[in-house]
């Protein structure tokens, strides 16, 4: 019974701490104070809630308890600060909590602050998971395969920069919003990707990370319903997540999209994802995440790999190259070209790319050459890919493909 309560308390805190921290930052203007206060409230909850049960409004309980802790702490500081602490207390007590609505949601302010362009990507990712997601530092460290002190230092440094450089706690002005939103969406996407990649690490933790990213994407879509890219990201993550049950074989090895048992795809997620993609198409304000979601939707439409509308996918990649002309997008487009125009055309596209350090570039070349029956050239390409791959599960997959190629 006690163990069950503990899990329920943990889960409640994970769900509510983001909003609580965000609210307290607005009250006190200090991230560390807010974080500590919410952590203190968590400790109080672990003592009291097993007896009293979950309060009817856990979020409200956490904010009230944390706020009182913060006020106590400010009071305890040196006497020079006393007047300041009293003034803050008076303000905190008299200021009513604003009506929660999309525009006034403190979590939006918090996400934009964590993802401010003045913070590098790894700091933004760590901070978002810690403050908005409510993950503990050790969990984040394990997820990114980084020692805990390193992750702790990363978080400390990021918070110090926010304070010292005076990064403002607000949602950006309309003129700046598209760019700034792009960074936020990219951070959430990176978190999802980290959780998506098959890894020899903690599989359970990886799933947790992907679900956390999905939760953040939902939050953003709820808070910014007028931003089609936020809807696009959610659609993309839903459609990607729908394939999880089919993506790994029982021995943990990778199953390519073309080989996946589509009966194992999650239809509920697909339906939701496709509905969102259609809504985005109607708005006709395309952007990179929406287009990637549309590509995923075309795959989801096909009952089997042979039924895939590669022509439409190629058109979407052409569009994506306009919005996000990156080498990786070009590489993925070449895969679509292979399906529509044949391997030779795709290979000549690849020959003009400069992705020699990227294992998937060589893996793609290898696959195309293999399909053309160029056994030796394919083998060379597999070797180049294997020399660069760092992920154990991917390595085993490439070795198997190489073996199949040589067995001809």
């Amino acid at each position: 019974m006690a163990a069950l309560e503990s899990a329920a308390i943990d889960r409640t805190f994970r769900e509510e701490s983001g909003r609580a921290i965000a609210t307290l930052i607005r009250h006190f203007g200090d991230i560390d104070l807010a974080e500590e206060a919410v952590q203190d409230a968590f400790l109080v909850a672990t003592e009291k809630w097993p007896e009293t049960g979950l309060p009817p409004n856990p979020g409200g309980w956490i904010v009230t308890t944390a706020r009182n802790r913060a006020i106590d702490k400010l009071r305890r500081e040196s006497s020079r600060e006393e007047r300041h602490a009293h003034a803050v207390e008076l303000q905190a007590q008299s200021e009513p909590d604003p009506v929660e609505g999309p525009v006034s949601d403190d979590r939006l302010r918090l996400i934009f602050t964590c993802c401010h362009p003045a913070l590098d990507t790894s700091s933004a990712v760590a901070l978002t998971l810690r403050l908005v997601g409510g993950l503990q530092t050790p969990e984040i460290a394990r997820a990114f395969l980084v020692p805990e002190p390193t992750m702790a230092q990363r978080l400390v440094r990021a918070k110090r920069k926010i304070k010292a450089a005076n990064i403002p706690y607000r949602v950006p002005a309309d003129a700046d919003l598209p760019d700034r939103l792009g960074s936020v969406l990219t951070v959430v996407y990176l978190i999802y990707n980290e959780g998506y990649s098959a890894s020899s690490g903690d599989a359970l933790l990886r799933t947790d990370l992907a679900l956390e990213a999905l939760r953040l994407a939902r939050l953003l879509a709820d808070l910014m319903p007028d931003e089609p890219e936020a809807i696009g990201l959610l659609a993309l993550l839903l459609l990607s997540e729908s394939r999880r049950p089919a993506r790994t074989a029982s021995d943990g090895s990778i199953v390519l999209l073309t080989d996946q048992d589509r009966n194992r795809w999650d239809r509920t997620l697909i339906d939701e994802g496709q509905t969102l993609v259609k809504a985005c198409l109607r708005r006709n304000r395309p952007g990179p995440f929406q287009i990637q979601a549309a590509i995923a939707a075309v795959h989801s439409d096909a009952a089997d790999a042979n039924g895939t509308d590669w022509g439409q996918i190629l058109q979407l990649y052409d569009m994506l190259m306009v919005h996000a002309p990156t080498p990786v997008v070009a590489l993925n487009r070449a895969v679509a070209v292979a399906e529509v125009d044949g391997e030779t055309d795709a290979l000549s596209l690849l020959d003009d790319m400069h992705l020699d350090g990227y294992h998937l570039y060589h893996a793609t070349r290898a696959e195309l050459l293999r399909r053309m029956g160029e056994v030796d050239a394919a083998d060379d390409a597999y070797c180049e890919a294997l020399a660069l791959v760092s992920n154990e599960v991917e390595r085993r997959f490439l070795q198997e493909r190489r073996r199949v190629n040589s067995a001809r």
Binding site: H116, A118, A165, N166, P168, P172
Partner: protein, 118 residues
């Protein structure tokens, strides 16, 4: 309000730039200076003579050591700087954006520590 130093980095010596480029930079920086003053953000600013006019002073074993040349022996040197006052980093970055266009080079934005209480 926070004070920020906006440092201008040259990776080319100013005397190596073509005259018309140099002239445009001076004119653009001049215009920006007026804008900063009018906005009430101005604290201080100035252009520095090239790095080879610098002198470094150090203390070693109780003795003063004087060396000719800049401290950092790098290709990139500080060519000048602004000290501005801004409500937050976003405002400072907006000024830095104008500065990097005017100077045609990177600008480092760094916050000052709060003045110690008197």
């Amino acid at each position: 309000m926070t004070q920020y130093m906006l440092s201008v980095f040259d990776d080319e010596r100013p005397e190596d730039l073509p005259a018309d480029v140099l002239e445009k930079i001076y004119a653009d920086v001049d215009a920006l200076n007026n804008e900063i003053r009018e906005a009430g953000a101005w604290v201080f600013a100035g252009g520095l003579h090239p790095a080879d006019t610098a002198t470094v002073v150090r203390e070693k074993n109780g003795e003063t050591v004087v060396t000719d040349g800049p401290y950092a022996e790098t290709k990139e040197q500080v060519g000048g700087f602004w000290v501005i006052e801004a409500p937050d980093l976003d405002a400072a970055l907006a000024w830095a954006n104008k500065a990097t266009v005017a100077c045609q080079g990177p600008i480092e934005v760094r916050p000052f520590q709060d003045e110690p209480e008197a």
